[in-house]
C-alpha cells in the first residue's frame, strides 16, 4: 500500500529527528574520546620537578596536597553523579532530543575555543622537557599558568561536548547535590587522613598477629616491633604502613556499604550491618595470614615470594572476603530475606554457564601466578580447573548449537595477522619462559606445552566467548540477557564487550580489535559457536607461530 504524503512526511521527519539525536550522541562520545586522549597525552610527559624544587607556598599546595585535591575531586564527582543519577540521565535525554539546533550549533564555537586553549597548553607542557624551564626564575608562574589553561580547557570541553542548557539543567534541578557531594568528598578525605593515624597502631597489631602465626608453626626467628621487621632465619620482611591492612579494610567496607544499599530490600536490618565489622575483621586476619605466608614462602624461594605471591595475594584475599561473605550471607535467613523456595529458584542461575568458567580460570591463573616468579610452572592446572568448571555446566553446553563455518575460521586467521602486527615481542619474557621450560624434565616440558595448546585452542576460546559474546554482549542490550537473541547488534554492546575484552587481555588495542572481530563472527549467523571457532582458529595459528619461533611472549 502506498504511503500517503502526510505519512511519508511524518516518517521522513521522524527519521531525520532520530538521525539528529544519533549524530549528537556520536559527537558527544567523540569529544569524550578526545578528552581521554588529551588527558593521556598531556599528563604522560608532565613533569614539574623544577617547580617541586622551588620552596614556595605553591609547592606545599600543589605537591604535598595534590593527592588530597585529587581524592576530593574524584569523590566529589562520583558522589554528585550518584546522588543526581536520574537528573543527569533525564537532562542528557532532553538535551539530545532538543528540537532547537541552535544550542548544538553554539557547541562548535566552544570547540574552537577549546582548541585555542589547548594549543598553548600543549606548548607549555612540551616546554617543561626543555632546558629553558630550568632557567625560568619563577617556575611556579609557569605551573600557575598551566593550571589556569588546564581549567579553561576543561570548561570549554564541557561546553563543546554538551550544550550549556544541559549543565544548567543539571545544576538547577539538583542544587543541593553539588555542595553535599563536595562535603562528602572533603569528609572522606579528612576521615581517610585521620585513619592514617591508625596505620602505625594497626601495623603493630598486624605484625603481632603474623608473628603469632609464625610462632605457631615454630618458624619465627626475627621479630623486631621497633622496626616492624618479621621473619624466619633465612628471610625477613619489613611491614610498611601501607601493609597494615587499612586499605583492604576500607575497600571491604566500601563494597559492603554499596551492597547493603543496593540490596536494602533483600537483606534484614540491623543484622545485615554485622557484615561491616565481620568483613573488616576478616580483612585484617587475612592480611596477617598473607604476611606470615609471604615470610614462609620467601624462606623457601625469595623470587616467588616477592614477584609472585606478594603481588597477587592481596587481590585474592580481598575477592575472597567480599564475594564469599556476600554469597554466604545472602543464603542465611537471619541476614537475608530468603526461604527454601527462593534458594531453589536462584540456585539455577542462568548466567552461571557463561561466567563461572571464566571466574574459575582467572582465579586459578592468579593462584598459580602467586606460586611462580616469571614462568607459570603450574599452567597445566588452568586446564584442569577450566575443564572442571565447564563440566559443571555440561548439560547446558550440549544443548547449545555447535556448528563451525569457514568464514569464522577466516576471521580467526585475520585476527592472527592483526595480532602479529600489533603485539610487540618481549625479549625478557621469551628468555624467562625458555629458561623455565629448560628447567623442566622432558615429560614436564611436553605436559606444559600440551596444556598451553589445549588451553589456547579449546578451553580459552570456549570460556572467554561464553563470557563476552555469550553473556556480556547481550547483557549490554537488556538486563534480562536471556531475552536477547544471540547475534543482535547494538553499538553499545559491540563496542563495550570488545573494549572490556581488550582491557582483560592486557594488549588492549589488539585485544579490543580481536574482540570486535569475534563479535562479527557471531553477528554473521547469530551462532556463538562461530565466535568460538574464530577465536580458536586465531589461537591455533598463533600457537603454531609461537612454538615454531619460540616467541613465548605472544602467549603472555
Amino acid at each position: 500500500m502506498a504511503a500517503s504524503p502526510t505519512m511519508l512526511y511524518r516518517r521522513l521527519t521522524r527519521t531525520s529527528a532520530q538521525s539528529s539525536v544519533r549524530w549528537r550522541q556520536l559527537r558527544s562520545a567523540a569529544l569524550l574520546v578526545l578528552l581521554a586522549a588529551e588527558v593521556t597525552a598531556l599528563t604522560l610527559p608532565f613533569d614539574a620537578s623544577a617547580v617541586a624544587a622551588s620552596p614556595t607556598i605553591w609547592k606545599h599546595l600543589l605537591f604535598e596536597k595534590a593527592g588530597d585535591l585529587r581524592a576530593v575531586l574524584i569523590t566529589w564527582s562520583a558522589a554528585t553523579i550518584f546522588l543526581t543519577w536520574p537528573v543527569v540521565r533525564d537532562a542528557l535525554l532532553d538535551t539530545f532530543r532538543d528540537p532547537d539546533p541552535a544550542s548544538w550549533r553554539r557547541c562548535r564555537l566552544w570547540f574552537v575555543a577549546h582548541v585555542m586553549v589547548l594549543a598553548p597548553l600543549i606548548a607549555g607542557t612540551a616546554l617543561r622537557g626543555t632546558p629553558q624551564l630550568g632557567e625560568v626564575e619563577h617556575p611556579e608562574i609557569w605551573l600557575g599558568a598551566w593550571l589556569i589553561l588546564a581549567m579553561l580547557a576543561v570548561v570549554t570541553w564541557c561546553a563543546a561536548a554538551l550544550p550549556l542548557q544541559f549543565w544548567i539543567r543539571w545544576v538547577t534541578r539538583s542544587p543541593r547535590a553539588f555542595p553535599i557531594g563536595f562535603a562528602f568528598g572533603l569528609a572522606t578525605d579528612i576521615v581517610a587522613n585521620w585513619l592514617k593515624a591508625l596505620w602505625s597502631a594497626l601495623a603493630f597489631s598486624t605484625l603481632w598477629a603474623s608473628a603469632a602465626l609464625l610462632s605457631a608453626v615454630n618458624r619465627l626467628a626475627v621479630y623486631d616491633p621497633q622496626n616492624a621487621v618479621i621473619g624466619t632465619s633465612t628471610f625477613s620482611v619489613r611491614v610498611g604502613l601501607p601493609c597494615s591492612g587499612l586499605e583492604g579494610i576500607s575497600l571491604v567496607c566500601g563494597y559492603f556499604v554499596l551492597y547493603l544499599w543496593i540490596c536494602r530490600r533483600e537483606v534484614r536490618f540491623p543484622a545485615a550491618l554485622l557484615l561491616l565489622p565481620l568483613g573488616a575483621a576478616m580483612a585484617w586476619i587475612l592480611n596477617a595470614v598473607r604476611i606470615a605466608a609471604l615470610v614462609l614462602l620467601g624462606s623457601g624461594n625469595r623470587e616467588i615470594a616477592l614477584r609472585g605471591f606478594h603481588s597477587v595475594a592481596g587481590w585474592l584475599f580481598f575477592n575472597l572476603v567480599v564475594l564469599g561473605m556476600v554469597s554466604v550471607s545472602s543464603r542465611l535467613s537471619f541476614l537475608a530475606r530468603t526461604d527454601q523456595e527462593t534458594e531453589r529458584r536462584v540456585s539455577r542461575n542462568p548466567a552461571g554457564v557463561y561466567l563461572v568458567p571464566l571466574f574459575a580460570m582467572i582465579t586459578i591463573a592468579m593462584l598459580t601466578k602467586a606460586f611462580s616468579a616469571d614462568f607459570d610452572t603450574y599452567y597445566p592446572l588452568h586446564i584442569i580447573v577450566g575443564l572442571g568448571a565447564l563440566s559443571l555446566y555440561w548439560n547446558d553446553l550440549v544443548r547449545m548449537r555447535w556448528v563451525g563455518s569457514w568464514p569464522a575460521v577466516a576471521i580467526g586467521a585475520a585476527v592472527f595477522g592483526m595480532w602479529l602486527a600489533l603485539v610487540p615481542r618481549d625479549a625478557g619474557v621469551d628468555v624467562a619462559v625458555a629458561t623455565g621450560l629448560g628447567a623442566l624434565s622432558r615429560l614436564g616440558r611436553m605436559l606444559w606445552i600440551s596444556s598451553r595448546l589445549i588451553g589456547a585452542i579449546f578451553v580459552a576460546p570456549i570460556v572467554e566467548e561464553l563470557a563476552f559474546r555469550g553473556y556480556l554482549i547481550r547483557k549490554l542490550i537488556a538486563s534480562d540477557f536471556q531475552s536477547v537473541m544471540p547475534g543482535r547488534f547494538t553499538w553499545l554492546s559491540f563496542l563495550g564487550s570488545s573494549l572490556l575484552f581488550g582491557i582483560l587481555d592486557g594488549h588492549w588495542v589488539a585485544g579490543t580489535l580481536a574482540g570486535g572481530a569475534f563479535a562479527l563472527a557471531l553477528y554473521r549467523r547469530g551462532e556463538l559457536s562461530d565466535a568460538i571457532a574464530a577465536h580458536a582458529s586465531a589461537n591455533a595459528v598463533l600457537a603454531a607461530y609461537v612454538i615454531a619461533n619460540h616467541s613465548w611472549s605472544l602467549w603472555a
Partner: protein, 74 residues
C-alpha cells in the same frame, strides 16, 4: 535511545573509568610503548596485569551475584 540504554552507556563509561583510574595508578607516567600500556617499571614487583586480574575477578563475581539478585526479585 531510551533511559535504560543511556544508563547502560553511562555504566559502561563508569566501569571503563574505574579500570583506567586503578590501572593508571600502577604506572600512568611510565609508558614506554602505548601498545603495552599500562606498565610500571618503577615498581616491578607490582604488575598492573595482576590488578587487572583482581578487578576482573571482582567484576565477574559481582555480575554472578547481580544475576542471583535479579532472580530473587522476580
Amino acid at each position: 535511545m531510551n533511559r535504560s540504554d543511556l544508563s547502560r552507556w553511562l555504566w559502561l563509561a563508569g566501569v571503563c573509568a574505574i579500570f583506567l583510574i586503578v590501572l593508571s595508578g600502577h604506572g600512568f607516567a611510565a609508558v614506554d610503548d602505548w601498545r603495552n600500556w599500562p606498565r610500571c617499571p618503577r615498581v616491578p614487583e607490582i604488575d598492573p596485569r595482576l590488578a587487572r586480574g583482581g578487578l576482573a575477578l571482582l567484576a565477574i563475581g559481582t555480575l554472578v551475584l547481580i544475576e542471583r539478585l535479579r532472580l530473587r526479585r522476580r
